[in-house]
């Protein structure tokens, strides 16, 4: 009898167990960088050319009284030696332990954390650094991550700028090997320009152009009749900048837009938004309607 009851209870409980496993997990871990506040580690940060530190905060769905131990790993859930009896290859290091708050500002630089997990050199294939938080009172572990953006995109190919009025219309195509959405993919572009003649790399930045698929921009506030040299670079979301494009040149020139051409040809309209006689009459004509509506009000 008892085994039958146990089996029945197990059958009844099975759906609820499945439902529990399907929930979002035991909590959330948010990993950002302290200085630039983004969720991407760039080449410069990995090489410690630009110093930054990890900032970790977390929330447990239940419990979460702590104290907490934080781990960094190259694999999710920060496995130590084995999982389900199967040996796994992972590198997991302890960031800190005994934390009693629900956030942690790492004192080690990002570069140090990367090298402790991935080795001395910045990894070329890994895309994620995992950070795990263990609630030592319940031995519950939750995982967060931060993106490794450790490749620079290929240099764009710039086209010869077309002249605008005090402006140059600059266009380019992404260099070969660009893959939208992946590490090393161009997330934005940077345009450098200065008065001709210039030698690469041009030092003066003229525009930052957002958008993965953007392939043109307009550089304004230039002088008509003066030749300018232009270069373009691609930038990943983490800030890795490509090499310079080919150097191209263009000269802004005076352009007659429609209004200028109209005025130049002797057009009589003077512009301006003065209220003419018709507009005044139109406004006056609204008065009877307003009065009619007002009379209807109780």
């Amino acid at each position: 009898m008892a085994p039958r009851l146990a089996a029945l209870a197990a059958l009844l409980l099975a759906p609820s167990l499945v439902a529990a496993q399907a929930t979002a997990g035991n909590g959330t871990v948010t990993v950002t960088e302290n200085t630039d506040q983004d969720k991407v580690i760039s080449v410069a940060e990995c090489l410690n050319q630009k110093q930054d530190n990890l900032q970790v905060s977390w929330t447990f769905n239940s419990g979460g009284a702590g104290p907490f131990t934080l781990l960094a790993s190259d694999q999710t859930a920060c496995p130590q030696t084995s999982s389900n009896g199967t040996t796994v290859t992972a590198t997991t290091v302890t960031m800190t332990s005994g934390v009693t708050t629900t956030n942690f500002a790492d004192t080690q630089t990002v570069a140090t954390r990367i090298s402790s997990v991935f080795g001395a050199n910045c990894p070329t294939t890994a895309t994620t650094l995992f950070v795990c938080v263990i609630d030592t009172s319940t031995n519950t572990i939750i995982t967060g991550s931060i993106l490794l953006d450790l490749a620079a995109p290929p240099a764009p190919v710039a086209n010869t700028p077309t002249p605008g009025d005090g402006a140059l219309n600059v266009s380019w195509s992404q260099g070969s090997g660009s893959v939208d959405g992946g590490t090393g993919a161009a997330a934005s572009f940077r345009v450098y320009c200065d008065v001709h003649p210039q030698t690469t790399p041009i030092g003066k930045k003229c525009a930052d152009v957002g958008g993965q698929g953007t392939t043109s921009t307009r550089i304004e506030h230039l002088t008509n009749g003066t030749e300018y040299d232009v270069e373009v670079t691609a930038v990943t979301q983490g800030g890795n900048e490509s090499g310079r494009s080919n150097l191209v040149s263009g000269t802004p020139e005076a352009i007659n837009d429609f209004w200028r051409l109209y005025r130049q040809d002797g057009g009589r309209d003077q512009g301006g938004c003065a209220l003419g006689a018709g507009g005044l009459v139109a406004l006056l004509a609204l008065v009877p309607l307003a009065l009619r509506r007002r009379r209807r009000l109780p």
Partner: protein, 239 residues
């Protein structure tokens, strides 16, 4: 002739049951219409017919969209509506280099026409006889075309200290014919009235003669349509 009139009178008397507007219809107090038509300002009339507008924007016609809301001053033997309307049209072309060649820079003229209109719609027969679902109407409007010209940077154009934006006033006369769509399915029309308060829906065509040149001012351009009569069409909802 008298026989024809007699037959028509008999037909009219024979179909009173086909009345479009039931006694249970909701009260009518206004109208809303949306229309689209072709438009080309007659700016080049200053230059003898071919001038900067044609040079920049070519010879084609643009499209003007309009929406009007009207308050019914009178609903009885026809409808007399006082309305306000707003629309939009624009043309875009290439600026010109000083040598006269087309440049890479775009330039546009954008116009937002507004109007105050008085419309009389003779809808008596359309509402009474299903077999005659037509309502002719006439409209007189005070117009104000608000416009601006943009240069290659997308900014307001300017030339010689004169800003490339302003407003041009005028007036227009329109006449049209509206087809009462409720006649296609009166039951559906009554359901729509019950559910939304829209009594009738019309499909209309309209012919407009416009005079948008600041009443002949010597310092204003001519934004009247370059055709003697402009054609437009749209939907009218009476509620």
């Amino acid at each position: 002739m008298s026989r024809v009139l007699a037959v028509l009178a008999m037909l009219a008397a024979a179909v009173p049951a086909a009345a479009q507007e039931s006694k249970y219809a909701s009260p009518r107090w206004g109208a809303f219409e949306m229309s689209v038509g072709s438009y080309r300002p007659n700016i080049d009339s200053e230059f003898g017919g071919s001038g900067p507008f044609s040079t920049i924007f070519g010879s084609g016609r643009g499209v003007m969209f309009r929406a009007d809301f009207a308050y019914s001053l009178f609903v009885g033997y026809g409808s007399l509506d006082l309305g306000i309307g707003v629309g939009y049209t624009q043309r875009t072309g290439k600026g010109q280099t000083l040598a006269g060649a087309a440049s890479a820079d775009d330039t546009s003229i954008k116009i937002v026409p507004t109007r105050l209109s008085l419309t009389y719609r003779f809808d008596v027969l359309a509402l009474r006889y299903r077999w005659l679902p037509l309502a002719p109407y006439g409209r007189v409007s005070l117009e104000r075309y608000n416009w601006w010209v943009t240069n290659g940077s997308g900014d307001f154009a300017s030339a010689g200290g004169k800003s490339g934006r302003g407003a041009t006033n005028g007036y227009s006369f329109s006449g049209g014919l509206a087809l009462l769509l409720n006649s296609l399915d009166p039951t559906l029309g009554r359901d729509m009235d019950r559910d939304t308060g829209i009594n009738q829906t019309y499909l209309f065509v309209e012919f407009t003669k416009s005079y948008i040149k600041d009443f002949g001012s010597s310092s204003s351009w001519n934004l009247s349509d370059d055709r003697k009569v402009a054609l437009s069409g749209g939907l009218l909802f009476v509620f």
